[in-house]
Amino acid sequence: MNNYYIKRTGRAVLTLWVTVTLTFGLIRAIPGGPLEMLRARLVRQGVDPSRIDAIIQSRQQESQPIYVEYYEYMSSLLSGNLGESFYFREPVSDIIIDALPWTVFVMVTATIILFAIAVVWGALIAYKEGSTFDTASSGLSILLSSVPFYVLGILFVVVFSYKFGVFPARYRTSPGISPELSFLFIQDALYHAALPIASVVITQVGLQTLAMRGNSIQVLGEDFVRVARLRGLSDRRIATRYVGRNAILPMYTGFLTLIGFNLGGSVILEEIFTYTGIGYYMFEALINRDYPLMMGIFLVITTALVLSVYIADLTYGLIDPRVKSGDSNEAY
């Protein structure tokens, strides 16, 4: 068992290392390379051409063999230095520290809400399998999941923010409200996050409900549920202790992976709602070709996903003691 934890940790570290190496390679694969980007930036800033040449010349002399650059890139990353953003002219780490909590707040809240709804709704459908309620709910679930979350987001902004003006269309708080632990601040933050959260919950709840329905139906057919019924246990006890627990188990990993997935999806969502989380900054970085910021946020999102899957894998054994891990098979 300990062996499994060591292996799993090794894999998480390996993934992060691959991602870092990938970003390192990508920055160098960009047409023109960093020096050309620097030149373009200087030209845009209106620097005198002869001075640009001088700057480029001086930089070129500094250019080192690739492994030295790689070593420096790695060591600066490990010390938390992600470089400086071209566009915002701020250290990338500062931007991320400012923006990350908001994105995490929106996405984690949305995912928790949608899983809560999915578990209850899916279990109810499973109990009424084959009824009109089942058909209607399953149909609705499928219909909801055919809408991409950003399409619903656009509709929400157009209808609720611009047409009726009931919800704010941009920013994470109203101007002039400082982040502090006050009722006003919390209320304002929730008010601004309501539409993004709603568009994620509504479009993703359908598939999770169907998954919960499938799990519950499978568990309902198990022998131990029949035995529990024969023992005359109350329906409530069977539903929560026997069926519910076992049906939720397979969704646990999905829950954490979906949080990670949604962090990636925040790029589209936050652009639509002009919600200044990391997704919004990533979009700005992509549009403005701000590579340090782009790669910095990419690394942060990857780290978040790797960590959430890592936690899911490590804790799954605690939730479901039956699972045996690290089994090896005969090689052919």
Binding site: G214, I217, V267, M294
Partner: protein, 342 residues
């Protein structure tokens, strides 16, 4: 049991051709058998399900629009009709025009062929690679398994959308087929994992062991004994991958990260949202709604296909519908909806 792959000499003494000479199997027979087993029967079961039927019809409509429709209907261009027409005003532009006089319907229709190519290339790439890596890893086991599983685990842990965006900025792909592959660049990994775990169960079956004992080569065992068992599952996931391609590509086009040289519903959404003044009171809402409906129905068709095809998993339903077994036993489909990545 030790499997000797390199031992070719034994085949001469111990020929399997003998079994074939007694019962002559012609190519036509084999084709007919293949058709019955892999197209007719699953098709029948799938068609029996209302979800698949609707899904197949929706997909048929899209293929029709993408091929014949795009060929018949005029291409969108600026000032081809009066500007800012509302829908259902003229026959010339039934769904109205944009602020620059482009026919909205023409724009939707002419974005379809590229979308279908993207779906196809993305789906084939994702499921193909997943089947290859999943079956080889699951069947071979040992070091091969460890290496391939670690590889797919690493790929799986890199968030898809940001990775695609970064790659799109670097590569800036123009062709629809390339975009499809780019979008599924790490989508296959999760699928490969679940295929591997299914193969782990399948490879313990006695007929697989029989093939192995008879010294059948690994690619042949994978192709003949293992992959056919998973075809329904692969098809379901093909539909899921296709839906992912639709969502991701429209999102990327909406953000303006992919080059705008190709017509796409996402570009249309972006134009309608930012330029056409869809925000100013909803007077031009139709420009947003038309591409939205196009996206939703395509996704709906793919979800329905995937959900309905799940039933093909159930062998009991399959034989009963094909008229090979008369038993009227339970046909409740207990198959859980396949793991879907939203």
């Amino acid at each position: 049991m030790k499997h000797t792959e390199s031992d070719t000499g034994s085949e001469r003494e111990f020929s399997f051709g003998a079994a074939q000479s007694e019962v002559e199997v012609t190519t036509a027979d084999r084709l007919r058998e293949f058709y019955r087993e892999f197209i007719y029967k699953p098709g029948l079961v799938a068609w029996e399900d209302r979800r698949t039927r609707i899904g197949a019809i929706i997909m048929g409509i899209y293929v029709f629009i993408g091929t014949i429709g795009a060929w018949l209907y005029r291409e969108p261009s600026t000032n081809q009709s009066p500007r800012s027409l509302r829908p259902f005003e003229t026959l010339e532009a039934p769904l109205g025009t944009t602020g620059s006089g482009q026919d909205v319907l023409a724009m939707v229709i002419h974005a379809t062929p590229e979308m279908l190519i993207m779906i196809l290339s993305g789906g084939i790439f994702a499921t193909g690679l997943a089947v290859l890596i999943g079956t080889v890893a699951g069947y071979k086991g040992g070091t091969t398994d460890r290496v391939l599983t670690t590889f797919s685990d690493v790929m799986m842990s890199i968030p898809g959308l940001p990775l695609i965006m970064v790659l799109a900025v670097v590569v800036s792909p123009e062709r629809a087929a390339v975009i499809g592959i780019l979008i599924t660049i790490n989508y296959w990994a999760g699928l490969a994992r679940s295929i591997r775990s299914q193969v782990l169960a399948i490879r313990e079956h006695s007929y697989v062991e029989a093939s192995r004992t008879m010294n059948v080569s690994t690619p042949r065992i994978l192709l003949k004994d293992i992959i056919p068992n998973m075809m329904p599952y692969v098809l379901v996931n093909f539909a899921n991958a296709a839906r992912y391609v639709v969502f991701a590509s429209v999102g990327l086009y909406y953000l303006g990260i992919l080059p705008t040289s190709v017509a796409n519903w996402g570009i249309q959404l972006d134009n309608a949202y930012s330029q056409a003044g869809a925000l100013s009171g909803g007077g031009t809402m139709y420009q947003l709604v038309v591409p939205m409906i196009a996206i939703m129905f395509l996704a709906l068709g793919l979800i329905l296909l995937a959900q309905g095809m799940d039933r093909v998993f159930n062998p009991r339903v399959r034989t009963r519908l094909a008229g090979e077994s008369g038993s009227e036993t339970d046909d409740e489909d207990t198959a859980a909806p396949t793991e879907v990545m939203t």
